[in-house]
Amino acid sequence: MGIEGEVLAGLKDRFGEPSFRSLAIVRDRVVKIVIDRKDLVAVCTFLKSKFDMAHLSSIAAVDWRDHFESVYHLTSWSRNFMVQINAWIPHDDPHIDSVVPLWNGANVHEREAYDLMGIIYDGHPNLTRILLPKDFEFFPLRKDFPQEVDRQYVSRRKIGGG
């Protein structure tokens, strides 16, 4: 059993099978788990203490129209493996707990996700817009944000294709 199986077994042991939406091995040394938002901090704390996940590579927010996902890519340098955590967030209540207390590096990534996708990270020390102007009102990466390029692109393809 490699490190991937060890991680999966450890997670199942600690939290029980039903609290995960899915558990999978993506490829060598990469594990993907899907959880609900309420379990996020507990799972992260467990992974950090048990498997020495010292590094948070990135936080990506995805809009799946019916729900949001906040995707965390965690790395353990000492054990040399990665975990991808997809945390589900309901669309009408985009709140999730912040992981800044665990990883300081999450600070800017959570601000970026808030800035572009509008997910509110509870407990973040300074959750303000980082890339867009302070007075911007929308969250551009959401699927319901209209994209002007979209129209141009379609029309150009139609003209080109006849």
Partner: protein, 331 residues
Amino acid sequence: MAEMWINMGPQHPMTHGLWNLRIKVDGETIVDAEPEIGYLHRGYEKIMEVREFQKNVVLTDRLCYVSSITWSHCYCLACEAAMDLDVPERGKYLRVVSNELQRIASHLMWLAAYGPDLGLLTALLWALRERELFLDLLQLITGARMNQNYPRIGGVRNDAPGDFEKYCAKVIGHFRKKLGEHEKVFEQSKLFQVRIDLRKLDPYDAYPEMDFQPAVEQEGDSYARYKVRVEEMKTSCDIILQALHKMPTGPYRVKPPRRIEGEGFRRTEDSRGEALFYVIGDGDDRPYRVKIRSPVFSNIAAAPLMMRGNKVADVVAIMGSIDVCVGEMDK
């Protein structure tokens, strides 16, 4: 003297682009710092959602104009991970070669910019002089000196010319001599960073077959970062020569599927740190969501930590050693 805030940017020689570092000084000592970014935000992740997978390579090239190939390479790897696509061996080797050439060119550009930061304008011209040779090599293999648009999902755009190895060996032999001169003219001050080489830890492409030692320094101050970059240039020279030596024959590209159902991510060792692309496809020929993780974006967040307690004159040395590229930072 009273404490005061000083704007270093958005138009300032230190910034190397368009961002603002506000520092709070007490006399000459920095009490606090606060980076303000986003001046160059172009909405990359949104734009990429409406372009086909293959066409996005052009965009990812423009993420950072001094290290284009490494970025499009990372994007192609992520797409391939999502497609479960295997790249032919020769394609992998060509990617390694172009990647390392680009890394050297990028590091030389950094060295060129770092010299004037420290008051050494001579280093600028010396580093640019050497960079020219590597740009020539890149031009030889890709046809362009900037924004090369070279990696493709499923391989690379074109094969290397026949006598490429000869030119590479010549340039690298010359460069190794000159690098010694550059090392003589540099020196500077303190702070921290841990260096981990993804080419070893999470190998991609033909890197597993290469024999090299990643450049690592224990201290983690500006001088250590300078030494890491210089060591990396030497390592890259070794890797290029090895890859050209071991390069197999055969096809260099396969045709990828147009549509992706599923998701994938890959990290690579960019010139500036850990680059990560996370690509999701929903079965369309365009990505449903692309997430770009820029190393500079993460490093710049550590600016307040690195600044506190240092002198105003250290700001340039510290921020310069991070090698800020605003294009990839603001996406």
